[in-house]
């Protein structure tokens, strides 16, 4: 207690003298989206909040365009791709400085990719997405690790990434990967200064428009403009990103005028829309996402395609969107969200049809209706969505029971597939249709256990996927991915519900593009008027 008292008194005194800096014109205060970053290490970061910091502090060879989301030159000024699509030669931008004053060269790129490739340091799931098809990856990360394997020793070099000269890097892929440039835009693909990796308590040493000035875990991250930034001047010189885990408190802070960007939860939307001052600051950005249900394909009743189809046909998707989601989102009838080149607004395999649903149930041996269970975690929106779905499918004689448990218990059961149906909030890692198709592939433990590798349709899907990822961008590639969608929906391998949207309250004093079309706040794109 004595210790506690002393801590308390020290805190009291510190608090007395540390009155916050008054809001300046060039300063912006926002809040983390979910709760707080888990790590400021780019090669370990895996959450939305990690990425919010990384996207503003770091850059990769390639970045995405904030409007079109297409890959654009960042630290690589230009690049060439070999005829067979397996060799990428990147020429680095000249004179780029890290926030510590050192100059970017090819060794920094090599260092960063080696660190991302090594099992102990590259623990972010983005490692596999960025480097998974790069030569040497499978040597570093064995395809399968048996039980009881000792801690993998860090392997320090991935053979597919080579330094050609000071400003040239060559990346060799094991298989041609059309979306490789898009994959490089992931936060795991950013470049940190060689030898700068440490505990990241002060953030990474990167080349982005901002540097981490201070990181108070549990409380806030402060960013300051990186004076050495190569990309030119911008308005916002300092940013405070606060940890406000309770979303309704974020909205109150926004109303009090002390937050410039806040999450706007669906539950608060009716109130926000009625308030003219607030509603004019409401920003909705469609997210490349698909809220869908995964199912156990190995066991009945969810293993029976007729029952899956009956459930899908019985859902009134538009009603769910209009009520629970307050109109934020569009019904999902397939894999791809609007915004992807493979999206087809006319593709509607699941137009609501109660009669057909009943007939399918009768054919499957349930003429008097059926009881199904869908699992979820305690996400408020998802629970409301599922309960609304449950209400709409009752008409077809389906008694859909929503079983919601703590997130880690749901994750456990979903990974083991000890469930019939389970809600999946899938937001795309990068804007390419291949990242939606993975929902059908047995390349994650959960889908292996749910039998995604054992269906009749699987070999064809895998073959098309392998073909699709190597086909150059364009009509042909899109057609392949649309064919996958067709097969998946015929077999109802996932049950799509809606493509969601990001809703934020954005202060009217922020001009420019406070949120990019990926829903990420990129502070150097903000313009502050007079």
């Amino acid at each position: 207690m004595k210790q506690g008292l002393r801590f308390g008194l020290v805190g009291l005194v510190t608090a007395l003298f540390s009155f916050g800096v008054m809001a300046q014109d060039a300063a912006v205060t926002v809040a983390f989206v979910e709760s707080q970053p888990t790590s400021l290490d780019p090669h370990a970061g895996r959450t939305v909040d990690d990425f919010l910091v990384l996207r503003n502090v770091c850059e990769g060879l390639i970045n995405y365009d904030p409007t079109t989301l297409e890959p654009v030159a960042a630290l690589a000024e230009s690049w060439t791709v070999s005829e067979d699509g397996t060799e990428y030669v990147f020429s680095l931008r000249q004179g780029v400085m890290f926030s510590d004053g050192s100059t970017l060269d090819a060794n920094d790129v090599k260092y960063s990719f080696d660190r991302l490739a090594s099992p102990v340091t590259g623990i972010s799931y983005t490692a596999r997405l960025v480097l998974g098809t790069v030569m040497g990856w499978s040597a570093i990360r064995p395809a399968a690790v048996g039980e009881g394997t000792p801690t993998p020793e860090p392997v320090l070099s991935i053979s597919g990434v080579e330094v050609v000269d000071e400003s040239t890097v060559k990346v060799t892929l094991a298989t041609p990967t059309t979306a490789f440039l898009t994959r490089l835009t992931l936060p795991g693909g950013v470049i940190i200064a060689e030898g700068s990796a440490n505990d990241f308590a002060n953030g990474p040493v990167c080349t982005g428009p901002y540097a981490v000035a201070s990181y108070v875990p549990n409380d806030r991250v402060e960013l300051v403009a990186n004076e050495a930034y190569w990309g030119g001047e911008f308005d916002v010189k300092s940013v405070t990103i606060r940890v406000i885990p309770e979303i309704s408190s974020q909205v109150l802070e926004f109303e009090a005028g002390s937050l410039d960007i806040s999450v706007a939860p669906e539950a608060d939307l009716p109130r926000i829309k009625e308030d003219s001052a607030l509603s004019s600051q409401l920003v909705t950005i469609p997210t490349l996402s698909n809220y869908n249900l995964r199912m156990n394909l190995k066991e009945l009743p969810s293993g029976d395609v007729r029952i899956r189809r009956a459930l899908s046909l019985a859902i009134n998707r538009q009603l769910v969107i209009d009520t629970v989601l307050q109109g934020q989102g569009v019904p999902a009838d397939g894999l791809y969200p609007p915004g992807l080149s493979t999206y087809d607004a006319d593709f509607a395999p699941f137009e609501r049809n109660i009669e057909e649903a009943k007939q399918l149930l009768a054919d499957a041996g349930y003429p008097d209706g059926i009881e199904l269970i869908v699992r979820t975690d305690q996400n408020e929106t998802e629970n409301r969505v599922l309960n609304a779905i449950s209400a709409t499918v009752a008409e077809a004689g389906i008694n859909l029971i929503v079983n919601s448990t703590e997130a880690s218990i749901y994750t456990e059961d979903r990974t083991n597939c000890t469930m019939q149906f389970g809600g999946i909030r899938w937001t795309m890692d990068y804007p390419d249709p291949e990242n939606m198709v993975v929902l059908l592939l047995p390349n994650a433990a959960t889908r292996v256990n749910c039998g995604y590798g054992e269906t009749e349709a699987y070999p064809e899907i895998q073959a098309l996927y392998d073909q699709g990822i190597a086909t150059p961008l364009g009509e042909e590639r899109d057609a392949i991915f649309r064919q996958i969608e067709q097969i998946a929906m015929e077999n109802v391998l996932i049950l799509p519900v809606y493509h969601g949207a990001t809703t934020r309250l954005v202060s009217s004093r922020l001009g420019g593009q406070p949120l990019d079309n990926n829903g990420v706040a990129r502070f150097h794109l903000i313009e502050l008027g007079n």
Partner: protein
């Protein structure tokens, strides 16, 4: 007395050890795997194996148990699974705000609750007594999250006197400590009132009055001092529960405290962080109880060790 304190401190060892054993086992009994939680929907067999190996979840339970214990004895509580930072650092960072909030709430609760209880007992059955009891009843009944949000709306949004959340200015302490102190204030009022009423009916008070002592002296020396003993007991329990019970307050007001950290850690199956925080709480509780036991003989000379 000093012998007593030493023996109490020695008794701490099996207590904390027992708490560690229970926490360790309970976290492992919970039906979910930290590696699966971290890997989420994207984990394949390989990444799950890598994560399990990295977090040393493949070690036999006995090894996991002794590794943590061995480290803890040397002041190293391991690294958080989720944040990959030393647990001792994380506890250090979050204990100070929690202690500051609990201390402030305690001071407010005591400086209002005890006088209110005394006043209420002295003016028993008056309108003032009724009002004080009503305040106490409301204080016990109001859920803290509701009160917290109402305070934010009133002072933060409508009146704009204070920031709804924050932890950088002294004024940021006001709203959360009001929200946090309410329950304790109510309990202290009720205990002070009932305990004082009981004492005021004792024979020795009548004796004191009848031997002609000034009624003020009777009240302060004879009644109040005796009535304070249960108040101290309750106070200790209330401070302890404040330290752990500010979780909701910390969440609503974005206060970077230990309670919020613990709740998140349990949800994420962050074994080292949960174990570390629970041990820290155990030490604080034990320390507070020791402090109260030391205070007893000072308040009441009949108690001797």
């Amino acid at each position: 007395m000093s012998l007593y304190i030493v023996s109490r401190i020695i008794q701490l060892i099996p207590t904390v050890l027992g708490i560690y054993v229970i926490t360790f086992l309970m976290m492992r009994v919970l039906p979910s795997d930290p590696a699966k939680f971290i890997e989420g929907d994207r984990g394949d067999a390989q990444s799950l194996a890598e994560t399990r190996a990295r977090l040393r979840l493949d070690d036999p339970l006995s090894v996991q148990f002794t590794t943590f214990l061995g480290g803890a004895l040397q002041g190293d509580l391991g690294r958080s699974f989720i944040h990959n930072r030393p647990v001792t650092t994380m506890i250090g960072e979050s204990f100070q705000p929690t202690a500051l909030l609990a201390l402030t709430a305690t001071i407010i609760a005591m400086s209002i609750g005890i006088p209110l209880g005394i006043f209420s007992a002295v003016r028993r059955n008056s309108v003032w007594d009724f009002l004080a009891r009503l305040v106490a009843l409301i204080g016990v009944s109001i859920p803290v999250f509701w009160l917290g949000i109402q305070l934010q709306i009133l002072f933060g949004v409508t009146l704009k006197w204070l920031d709804p959340t924050g932890s950088t200015k002294l004024s940021h302490l006001i709203l959360p400590s009001i929200a946090a102190c309410f329950g304790m204030l109510a309990i202290l009022t009720r205990i002070t009132r009932s305990s004082l009423l009981e004492v005021l009916n004792q024979d020795y008070i009548r004796t004191a009055h009848s031997k002609g002592l000034h009624s003020q002296r009777v009240f302060v020396r004879h009644a109040l001092q005796n009535a304070l003993l249960p108040v101290v007991t309750v106070w200790g329990a209330a401070v302890a529960s404040l330290l752990s019970g500010t979780i909701l307050v910390e969440t609503i007001f974005a206060w970077p405290g230990m309670g919020r950290l613990l709740v998140a850690a349990i949800g994420q199956r962050d074994y080292p962080l949960v174990q570390g925080i629970v041990i820290a709480y155990a030490l604080v509780y034990a320390g507070l109880n020791l402090l109260i036991d030391i205070l007893y003989p000072i308040i009441d000379p009949r108690i001797r060790y």
